[in-house]
């Protein structure tokens, strides 16, 4: 009996600890979201529920432009990075390709390089080749750092795939292109989708690199929020940040659903 009760006690401690941890983790976000619905002009003083800051934010042309810029950058960067990552994963998984160990490492390395270093390097590079800073420069930079994120789930999906499936396809009168289209690609799709969502999440809230390589008129949403906050915390910022937060959460949920499906499908004999 004594053992049992002490065991119960330790479980309670664990619960308290983990609950505290979750509060610590999510309280700031909760505060942000709650105060975005605050009627008061002073962000920290609660008066009544209102959605007026959302309306105000959406009617702000600068914010509209920033959201559109962010979606453009994330959209293009996601598509191009996923395309590159898929091709890289396919090449690296083929038996004919030698030295895939080192190539895998090179592709994954940017994940570990400090972002500020990448940001400065990208800016110096653009300066060196006299590339004009603007939306295009942001897109190019985003494509580059999104590739490793897109690559990881695709590569994982490919290496979990039974290689004899491709052989079975070739054996059944499908040429290389048909094998890719009818066998490899449908099985790879969840991995590609996961890679694309991951790229999108990474791109939409990137700040450091975007700050360095953005030119005049190429303000993305995180950059705009940062510029607003220098004038003080307003409920409008809370509203815009909440929107950005929701975009990311939606993408993360999508990623989670896709990777769950991924696991289920890989475990087919």
């Amino acid at each position: 009996m004594k053992n049992l009760s002490s065991k119960r006690k330790s479980i309670n401690w664990l619960k308290i600890f983990s609950n505290t941890f979750f509060v610590y983790l999510y309280a700031p976000i909760a505060v942000l979201i709650i105060y975005s619905f605050n009627d008061n002009r002073i962000a920290q003083v609660w008066t009544a529920f209102s959605t007026k800051w959302y309306l105000k934010a959406f009617n702000n042309e600068d914010i509209q432009r920033a959201i559109i810029n962010s979606l453009k950058v994330a959209g293009v960067a996601t598509i191009v990075a996923t395309l590159f990552a898929t091709m890289a994963a396919l090449v690296l998984s083929s038996k004919r390709f030698r030295g895939h160990g080192i190539s895998n490492a090179i592709i994954s390395l940017p994940l570990l390089v400090p972002e500020i270093a990448t940001a400065v390097a990208t800016l110096s590079f653009f300066a060196a080749i006299e590339f004009p800073l603007g939306l295009t420069s942001i897109i190019i930079a985003h494509i580059v750092f999104c590739i490793p994120f897109a690559f990881m789930p695709i590569r994982a999906r490919l290496s979990g795939m039974d290689q004899t499936l491709q052989e079975a396809g070739r054996d059944l009168y499908a040429n290389e292109w048909q094998v890719f289209w009818h066998v490899t690609f449908p099985l790879l799709k969840p991995g590609i989708l996961a890679g694309a969502i991951l790229s999108f999440i990474i791109s939409i809230d990137d700040f450091i690199i975007s700050l360095m390589v953005a030119g005049a008129g190429a303000t993305t949403l995180p950059l705009y929020i940062y510029s607003m906050i220098r004038l003080g915390v307003s409920p409008e910022i809370n509203a815009v940040s909440t929107v950005l937060f929701c975009i990311s959460v939606t993408a993360i949920i999508a990623y989670w659903l896709v990777s769950k499906q991924n696991e289920e499908k890989v475990h087919v004999h």
Binding site: D162, D171, L172, A174, H269
Partner: protein, 370 residues
Amino acid sequence: MNDINAISVKNVEKIYGGGKQAVTALKDIHLEIRDREFFTLLGPSGCGKTTLLRLIAGFEQPNQGEILLFGDHLEGLEPYQRPVNTVFQSYSLFPHMTIAENISFGLKMQGKMQKEISSTVAEMLELVKMAEYGERMPNQLSGGQQQRIALARALAPRPKVLLLDEPLSALDLKLRQAMRHELKRLQRDTGITFVFVTHDQEEAMSMSDRIAVMSQGSIQQLDAPETIYERPCNEFVANFIGDVNLIDASVSEFQPGKLVCQWAGSQVVAANTATTADLSSENRVRLAVRPEKLRLVTKDQGQTNAQVTESMYMGTDRYITVTCDHGENLEVRVQNSDVSGEVIQEGDTVGVFIPELSAVALTDQQSGLS
């Protein structure tokens, strides 16, 4: 019947890797597989049997030699250009397609009409007795069912030759035995040449018209199952297929098909397919005797006397180990059909009798596998 062989393998050699790490998987293989034959490549893992199958399918290219399919050269043809299909060891059904889509895949790639495809798919499902399963997904089927679908998928395009790469090895014993009958029936019903790869000698014996026993990249013996068992050409084949006693004797006389030998001071007449030239200079010969061919008789009635050291009751048989007077141990199998109640006990002294032609002279020493 067609006079042309379904498959001719000529001088085929396959080497993996290069330089010092080169591994010879197949050396100088000659092989002819007849039309409508159930042909088995049998051997331990690493003997080259699967490599040979992959060369026929086109997944690998030989370093030397050529392979012909009904007289046509296969060289330079991709797997999808060869009218042969493979049943893979792991089934390899496409997990994202239904059973019907799996079976129709080959037909679709061949550009068959939709009408013909659906009727063939129905026919194939009927053939493997899984008519109601067309709309299921592969992961909803058991291993045995997946195996049947893999067969149906490979048979659907009506290949000229069906290649089977250890298709039964992932199934449990009962299912494996049932599938043997199933495979034999499918081969009869379709009239397609089957090339079957296995390491299971029982599987090979029960299904095949002819067996090629392989070891270390070469064919040791190619014959009908009975001949392989009754007349193994060398020690490897004798040992690999069933149990065997190997005894050394000296040759005293050649007769057509026979070899008169001296063993333990008595005469043994062994079956012999070789000529004098195949025997070593000292006239020594190794004989193979199956345990069930040996007879235990009353003392002094056989070629030698022996003491029973072990007697194991196995139901249909009794496995008996005897030690001969000159020290050699022999395994004997006695069928449990004697109702007199006389049982051979451990410690009994008996006579060992090797009936005429029940021993086989192992004359083919070229493989050097002793």
